[in-house]
């Protein structure tokens, strides 16, 4: 009798677990469906030059592609600054050997590649090295047709705070080999970090991609918002600084007004210079 009851309980638990997992998957699929057009591929050319005492390496140019998240119907997007700034990448990824080298980096020829393959020339409007964020905007205001090809992921409908082992949904895009198809992965918060700022360590991540909770609410953007200090050169670091950090959406949202201000400033500058040319 006891054995029968135990078996029944196990069956119920397993069935419930399966159903729960199915629910989770269904919800994640819905999130993907809703926001697929909000995940774009960003292509840019990085030009960089390494300098140091007695060193002057010829400048190098590399085309790069990464994921960005549309956060405004006008096409404002955000990605991890690390994706676009090798200076930041090298500074974070290297220890003492690079300390005496200077790296001048520039980003040019930025383009959004939308879900249907449309390319939209864009530019970086604001950077925050501290939070590892870069905000981007289309060079020209988007026409109605293009606006329909994107979906803004709302920052103001974000969830907070998350806890360890909360399930997460990461949406990104594959690279050109796989024709930029949208990708979706289920993960979990591995740790909540409070120092020097609140952020979450996720079990998986793609820099610049959004991470949602099970309900489809935005948790934040994947970036390297906690920098490696480099540490003591005498200490063998057994583990690299985790890369799958989620910066809460509220921290991203706080910078949006500044990004919009920069866009307005540039538009005004352009208008003034057009007027000067007309005169």
């Amino acid at each position: 009798m006891f054995k029968t009851m135990l078996s029944a309980c196990l069956c119920v638990c397993l069935t419930a677990g399966t159903l729960l997992a199915q629910d989770e998957v269904a919800a994640a699929r819905k999130t993907l469906q809703t926001y697929e057009k909000g995940i774009i591929t960003l292509s840019a050319v990085l030009k960089f030059e390494v300098r140091g005492v007695g060193i002057s390496v010829p400048s190098q140019e590399r085309k790069t592609e990464c994921v960005a998240t549309i956060i405004d119907p006008g096409g404002l997007a955000v990605t991890a600054l690390t994706n676009l700034n090798p200076q930041v990448k090298i500074r974070r990824g290297s220890g003492g050997a690079m300390r005496n080298l200077e790296l001048d980096s520039q980003v040019q020829e930025v383009k959004y590649r939308l879900a249907d393959g449309t390319e939209v020339p864009a530019r970086v409007v604001l950077e925050d090295e501290d939070l590892d964020l870069a905000f981007l905007a289309p060079l020209e205001p988007l026409d109605e047709q293009t606006q329909e090809k994107i979906a803004a992921i709302p920052l103001d409908d974000a969830v907070s705070p998350a806890e360890a082992l909360d399930p997460t949904v990461l949406i990104a895009r594959a690279n050109d080999d796989l024709n930029y198809v949208p990708t979706i992965r289920l993960g979990r918060i591995v740790a909540t970090i409070s120092q020097p700022r609140t952020c979450y360590l996720n079990s998986l991540g793609t820099l610049g991609a959004p991470v949602f909770d099970r309900e489809g609410k935005l948790l934040g953007i994947v970036c390297r918002c906690v920098k490696s200090e480099g540490g003591s050169t005498n200490v063998l670091r057994l583990q690299a600084t985790p890369k799958h950090l989620i910066l809460p959406a509220a921290d991203v949202a706080r910078l949006v007004p500044q990004a919009k201000e920069e866009i307005a400033k540039d538009a005004e500058d352009e208008r003034t210079s057009d007027e000067d040319e007309d005169n």
């Binding site: 010829p58 200077e102 040019q108 501290d130 920098k227």
Partner: protein, 692 residues
């Protein structure tokens, strides 16, 4: 030999030359210090003195800025070498590998005078180049030049004393002494018998004079001198303890042609020779290893396996690899267009073929950058076409592709080794045609123009669309405006807290207060322990918490206030600090580039002043980048220099720097003096720009 294996050989060569040269230096250094009985020998001095007197004054140290294609651009590099003045009107002989790709040449004469020079002609096959001093740029143009005379290299014997003269490692003119070690030195088998420059096998024509007078990088192009004070060779390579010089008789012939016509004319019939096989019973002749398709030799019926015994009536013999350069010299020296008789043995019988010589073409076409495409290209020479199994030389070969250019970002990106055949249906015969068609397509267009391009990739004929035109402007984004603490801090670790009598406390200790900034105005002092900001505890107790305090401040609003809870000398204290925006960073300050002086400069940031300890009252701009090999670089300016004034005019801001440079551009003075601060030192740098 294909391009890849040629490159590998080049690397092997460099490696060998570097290692063996290094070894040679050690060996010779030891010899001269301890074993050389002639080192202090007055007789030896008497012996070499006249030769030094004759040639040393004609020695030239050569600084060049060269261009080489890389990454879709012509990249500049600086190099130095040696040379000798060989005529009173200022012609100089040096190596092709020193100056053959120079876009700018400066020569330092033996008395230290610096004179600019032009490249008159260059010959990669013999690794020789001729420069001409711009005598009008001399301080006293009428002052006569010292001139070195050519000697007869065929008279050299093993054991003859020779002097290597030049500027090793670009030091001032120097002389080393040695003996002729070998009068028919070729590339050793370990280096696969080949030394290639611009695709040309130098060992195909040159048989070097091996000697043990020490030479090093920088000696290249310098003369090897006999005791009569004559140039008997041009130093070029190092093989272990031996230097290798191009014999003067070959060099003089090449130099005369370069002076006369700017290039060297050579004949070609398309035979490739190798030494006779050991199993070959013939006791004379050179084995034909191959005949180039469609060449005069092939048309004349010569085949691989034939043994050539006479060429133009002259007996030919190549039993050893050392004989081949002389045989090649013989063929190359034939007048172009002459019908020559080639006698050869086939199956033991002698035959005579008649072949009309053609002009020998270069192995590789000259590289050129096409900015509007983002590629570096070459014309296709006959040899390149043959190696690529192409029927003709039509089209333009892509050498390299710039990451961000139109060619790289095309949907079917153009790759190195592609051949551009057509643009918008128009055939592209060569670089000139490509440039002409491009100019027609982009003229007057503000945006990039999409063009239909037909390319050849291996055996495929592909079509792609490339957007050609101006490079897009760089994107300089703004940095997020956030407050800053205007202090430096260290974590109050538990150890530190214990010994400071603050056990159990967490927070940060102030290590620096930036003068005149918000924290300074608020009264924060070095040694203060900050334990809370706006009522929130500073949870810092481990080294990893270094950024906690700054992160707390950066989360606050610019224009607001921060209440700092401090412990000073054990007593609690509260200070109100205004939250000011962090000072502009490198990317936010004004910057500029100058094409004439070839540098980029920017205004100082607050961090620059702190880091470099530049006092507030000292105004200037920072040189962000000094173009490698540019005028500013040649004049001694370096990235990181702080420019205080130019020609006596202060340059406190980028706007004023621009204005000073504009004035200079109008007046075009020969020399411009920059006064700069470098570290704790100041210095004057004299720049001699070539105004565009």
């Amino acid at each position: 030999m294909n391009r890849r294996s040629s490159l590998r050989l080049k690397r092997t060569n460099r490696f060998f030359v570097a290692v063996l040269l290094g070894a040679s230096l050690v060996y010779c250094g030891a010899l001269s210090a301890a074993d050389s009985p002639a080192a202090d020998d007055a007789t030896g001095r008497v012996q070499i003195e006249p030769a030094i007197q004759k040639v040393y004054p004609a020695l030239v140290r050569i600084y060049v800025v060269s261009e080489k294609p890389s990454g879709g651009r012509m990249q500049r590099r600086r190099a130095a070498g040696s040379g000798a003045i060989i005529s009173s009107d200022g012609y100089i002989v040096t190596n092709h590998h020193v100056a053959g790709h120079a876009v700018r040449i400066t020569c330092t004469l033996a008395d230290g005078e610096e004179v600019e020079a032009d490249l008159i002609g260059t010959d990669p096959l013999s690794d020789l180049a001729v420069l001409k001093l711009k005598l009008d740029t001399r301080k006293t143009p009428e002052r006569p030049l010292a001139v070195a005379a050519w000697g007869d290299s065929s008279k050299l014997k093993v054991g003859d004393v020779v002097l290597a003269m030049g500027s090793p490692m670009a030091v001032s003119q120097s002389v080393t002494r040695g003996i002729v070690s070998n009068v028919r030195m070729i590339m050793p088998k370990a280096m696969k018998g080949s030394f290639r420059l611009d695709g040309e096998d130098v060992g195909r024509i040159v048989r070097w004079i091996g000697h043990d007078a020490v030479i090093f990088g920088g000696n290249s192009g310098g003369p090897l001198v006999n005791l009569a004070g004559e140039i008997v060779g041009i130093n070029e390579i190092g093989l272990g303890s031996l230097g290798g010089a191009i014999p003067s008789n070959l060099a003089k012939d090449v130099v005369d042609q370069l002076i006369r016509q700017g290039h060297v004319t050579r004949s070609w019939i398309g035979i490739e020779f190798q030494p006779r096989l050991k199993s070959d019973k013939n006791e004379r002749g050179a084995l034909v290893s191959g005949v180039v398709e469609d060449s005069p030799a092939e048309k004349a019926g010569i085949r691989a396996g034939d043994v050539v015994v006479r060429y133009r009536g002259q007996p030919v013999d190549a039993e050893l690899p050392e004989h081949l350069p002389l045989l090649n010299q013989l063929v190359f020296a034939t007048p172009v267009g002459e019908t020559v008789e080639v006698a050869y043995l086939r199956d033991g019988e002698e035959h005579v073929a008649r072949a009309t010589t053609e002009s020998l073409q270069r192995a590789l076409g000259d590289p050129r950058e096409l900015k509007s495409w983002g590629i570096a290209v070459r014309d296709i020479t006959r040899m390149m076409a043959l190696e690529r199994h192409r029927k003709d030389t039509r089209g333009v070969l892509v050498h390299s592709v710039r990451g961000g250019g139109g060619a790289a970002t095309a949907k079917l990106p153009i790759r190195p080794e592609d051949v551009i055949l057509q643009i918008d249906g128009k055939p592209v015969e060569d670089i000139a045609a490509l440039e002409r068609i491009t100019a027609e397509l982009i003229e007057g267009k503000e945006n990039r123009v999409p063009v239909l391009v037909q390319i050849e990739r291996g055996t495929k004929q592909l079509m792609t669309v490339v957007k050609i035109g101006e490079e897009e402007n760089r994107n300089r984004p703004a940095s997020a405006s956030k407050p800053w603490s205007s202090i430096d801090v260290q974590v109050l670790t538990s150890d530190l807290a214990d010994l400071l009598g603050m056990s159990g406390r967490r927070g940060v200790r102030v290590t620096d207060v930036f003068k005149g900034q918000a924290a300074d105005k608020a009264g924060v002092e070095v040694g203060d322990i900050i334990v809370a900001v706006n009522g929130k505890k500073v949870k810092a107790s481990q080294p990893g918490d270094q950024k906690v305090f700054n992160a707390m401040v950066r989360r606050l609003r610019v224009g607001g206030k921060a209440m700092l809870k401090i412990v000073r000398n054990g007593k609690p204290l509260e200070l109100e600090m205004a939250l000011e925006a962090a000072p502009a960073g490198e990317r936010d300050v004004k910057s500029m580039k100058d094409a004439d002086f070839e540098f980029a400069a920017r205004e100082l940031t607050y961090a620059d002043r702190l880091k470099r300890r530049i006092p507030d009252d000292l105004q200037g701009v920072l040189l962000q980048k000094v173009e490698n090999g540019g005028w500013a670089s040649l004049g001694g300016l370096r990235g990181g220099d702080f420019v205080i004034y130019i020609d006596g005019k202060p340059t406190p801001t980028v706007a004023e720097l621009k204005s000073v440079l504009e004035d200079i551009r109008k007046e075009k003075p020969r020399r411009v003096v920059f006064f700069v601060r470098r570290g704790i030192h100041t210095l004057f740098c004299e720049i001699e720009p070539d105004y565009r």
